[in-house]
């Protein structure tokens, strides 16, 4: 349907954060005083518009909920036509709501968290840039415009990870994230080209309408390339190595970009392209495998890290693994992948902001071995953190329970083995989250000497409270009151399958395994003292601390060969090419050094050589004539 009424303002949702970013970044220091507030107002304005549109859409009949807005023709080259056009449907509005509402809360939180940073204005400018690009990504009605947003969030992520670029580790982490993301982005650009060659258009409507005519191999190739893109952006195996280093950025960035929104763009991409994956079962199977591997890898890494943010980053990888797995399951899973994405966006943002609040009170120390017994000192942080923890562990009635249980159920519908893996990962989740809570808020205090823990200011705790309430109620409300399944069904499709195992058994099994994981954590960390120095640990612990050797694999397979290639090229350049050119130059130089000696400055010797030359010419002429 064309955009009317409130829906004619779709472009404003995107334009507001971009305008904020432009003002903050172009006007520079002049906006230092009021810039951060402008940053919050623009995102809050987008959030208000998004809520109004969601309400308006909720009031419409299911078949007339998709709204399109065509601003102008962007690219027009022969058959290749791309419009600057937006598509607002049930899927994109849920994303827009998540991005703008969680984005607003994190903007407000940043006001307190970044209060003492002299570059606070620039930080808000980058955050606005990110929100604008992310909205462009989810509102685009064609793959090329989506790609613009995709690159935009990558840029914002790079700028924000390296926000404290005076730290070499932050600068390196930003570069690493950018480079690894490039690998995925190549996948997306190839996928778009292949889609255009196959279908003759890049708009979602045309592609999904005609894709069933394409042959199986092409569709599988498109699916795998899209998966590569999703792996890069969503830190999935084998492109997962950047996410843990990305924790070098300020904590609100980790919450907004590297937990709630940007890293879930891969899930959005796959859910949006559901028609392609439905027609390419091989690609969908690979999606499930990648999701399973990452789900377990992330959980294991999260269990061993002592850095609270890196542990949460491992958890993010694992949870996105759940979502990727869910959307790979096909129509039984798309809805629940998105559902988990939404609940995860809220409770993981809450966990990261909670971690930021703890760091705020602990001199920016991230080592959990130096925390302990903080529950009495930061009550609000403690309560909200625990609410979010129960949510991610999947304890009823917290929101994570509803979404994660739906995924586990969908996995059992498709394949019992995958279902068992999801339950295993849920158990590990129970372990590492309980470990995190115990090491931070319970057990004995292991603080460094001059640390005086204190609760954060209101501007930071109020977003925490809102997210905590979200972690408690969102899942139930969305599933039963909002009816997420029938809401998303027109866009991503849904079908239910019979499960051979009774539902009660799955439910009790998953909760039971989570509780076992939590009990092990309590035995290991509450009953026994936590050493300040990390113990040697088993081989699994050591491997998990090394991020399961993901970086080593990258080093051996990519970095080392590239370095050798670079060294060889440099050698060839300096020795062979520079050698030839250099010796030619020095030969000419030496020759001219000799030759210039003939410029003696005596006019008469020049005259003599002229006469000599003339005589030679005359003699030559005479000889030629005579012969």
């Amino acid at each position: 349907m064309p955009a009317e009424g409130i829906f004619s303002l779709i472009w404003v949702i995107i334009a507001l954060p971009f305008a904020g970013a432009a003002i903050l970044l172009l006007l520079g220091r002049r906006t230092n005083a009021w810039g951060p507030y402008l940053g919050i107002v623009t995102v809050a304005g987008s959030a208000a518009l998004a809520i109004l549109m969601a309400v308006a859409m909720f009031g419409r009949a299911a078949e007339s909920r998709t709204v399109g807005q065509d601003l102008y023709t962007w690219v027009l080259v022969d058959r290749f036509q791309v419009h600057m056009a937006f598509q607002l449907d049930q899927l994109s509005i849920t994303f827009v709501l998540l991005i703008t509402v969680v984005g607003t809360l994190i903007h407000v939180y940043s006001l307190g968290y970044m209060a003492h940073d002299e570059n606070r204005r620039k930080f808000f400018g980058y955050l606005n840039l990110f929100v604008g690009a992310m909205l462009l990504l989810v509102l685009a009605n064609n793959y090329l415009l989506l790609y613009v947003g995709w690159e935009g969030v990558g840029l914002a992520s790079y700028l924000l990870i390296g926000f404290w670029q005076h730290k070499p580790s932050a600068a390196a982490a930003a570069k690493k994230a950018f480079v690894i993301n490039r690998v995925g982005d190549v996948g997306l650009s190839l996928a778009i080209m292949l889609i255009f060659v196959t279908v003759g258009s890049v708009s979602f409507h045309d592609v999904f309408g005609t894709v069933d005519k394409a042959n199986q191999g092409t569709l599988t190739a498109i699916g795998l390339l899209l998966l590569l893109a999703a792996c890069g952006k969503s830190a999935q195996f084998p492109l997962q190595a950047w996410l843990l280093d990305a924790m070098e950025g300020p904590t609100p960035v980790s919450a907004l970009i590297h937990a709630a929104t940007m890293v879930t763009a891969g899930v959005y991409l796959i859910a949006r392209s559901n028609v392609i994956f439905d027609h390419a079962p091989t690609a969908a199977l690979v999606v499930v495998i990648v999701g399973c591997i990452t789900m377990l890898m992330g959980a294991v890494i999260g269990s061993a890290k002592d850095d609270i943010k890196k542990s949460l980053a491992g958890s993010t990888m694992s949870q996105i693994g759940y979502m990727i797995l869910a959307v790979g399951l096909g129509p039984v899973g798309y809805v629940f992948g998105i559902f988990h994405l939404l609940t995860h966006g809220v409770f993981k943002a809450g966990l990261f902001l909670g971690a930021g609040s703890v760091m705020h009170g602990m001199h920016d120390n991230v080592n959990m071995r130096r925390y302990g017994a903080l529950r009495a000192f930061m009550v609000i942080t403690f309560v909200t953190f625990v609410a979010c923890t129960l949510s991610i562990m999947g304890i009823p009635p917290f929101s994570g329970f509803w979404s994660k249980d739906s995924i586990i159920h969908a996995a059992f519908e498709q394949n019992a083995f995958v279902g068992a893996l999801t339950i295993l990962a849920a158990g590990i989740t129970g372990f590492y989250m309980t470990r995190m809570v115990i090491m931070t808020f319970f057990s004995k205090a292991r603080w460094e000497d001059d640390v005086h823990p204190h609760e954060s200011p209101k501007v930071m705790t109020i977003p925490l409270i809102i997210l905590g309430i979200g972690a408690l109620a969102q899942g139930f409300l969305m599933l039963y009151w909002g009816d997420i399944v029938s809401w998303l069904e027109p866009v991503v499709g849904y079908q239910e399958k019979e499960v051979p195992i009774p539902e009660v058994l799955i439910l009790s099994l998953s909760i039971g395994v989570v509780l076992v994981g939590a009990a092990i954590a309590i035995l290991m960390y509450q009953r026994r003292p936590v050493p300040v120095e990390a113990p040697h640990g088993s081989w699994l612990t050591r491997a998990a601390r090394e991020e399961l050797y993901g970086n080593t694999v990258n080093d051996v397979l990519v970095v080392e060969p590239s370095l050798h290639l670079t060294a060889a090229t440099t050698w060839f350049d300096t020795k062979a090419i520079d050698g030839i050119v250099g010796s030619l130059a020095s030969f000419t130089g030496a020759l001219s050094g000799r030759m210039r000696r003939y410029q003696s400055g005596f006019a008469r010797s020049y005259a003599l050589s002229m006469v000599g030359g003339a005589i030679i010419v005359v003699l030559a002429l005479i000889l030629v004539r005579l012969s």
């Binding site: 210039r596 003696s600 400055g601 005596f602 006019a603 008469r604 005259a607 003599l608 006469v611």
Partner: protein, 99 residues
């Protein structure tokens, strides 16, 4: 009289002029030798014009005279200036412009 004799005379005059340029140091003498070479060339032109029965050579001789006159203006001015600064008219002494 055989016009070839004029050519021979021209060659002798040219050689004298050339040797004068090469062996004498005084700029005035060198300059006069150059004039001698130019006039030897003029003589050759006129002799050839006579031998071929055309006026081309004579016209060229006029051009050479004009060139020689202009050369005298510039050349003498240079010699006088050099003499004023260095108190010498030797062509070997101003040898700074070299490698």
């Amino acid at each position: 009289m055989n016009p070839a004799n004029y050519i021979v005379l021209s060659a002798i005059l040219f050689s004298i002029g050339a040797i004068g340029v090469l062996v004498r140091r005084n700029a005035i003498i060198v300059f006069m030798s150059v004039e001698l070479m130019l006039n030897a060339a003029n003589l050759a032109f006129v002799a050839f014009a006579r031998m071929n029965g055309s006026l081309d050579g004579q016209v060229v001789a006029f051009f050479v005279m004009v060139v020689a006159a202009s050369e005298v203006v510039v050349g003498l001015a240079l010699i006088v200036t050099v003499f004023r600064t260095r108190r010498s008219a030797s062509v070997d002494e101003p040898n700074l412009l070299k490698y």
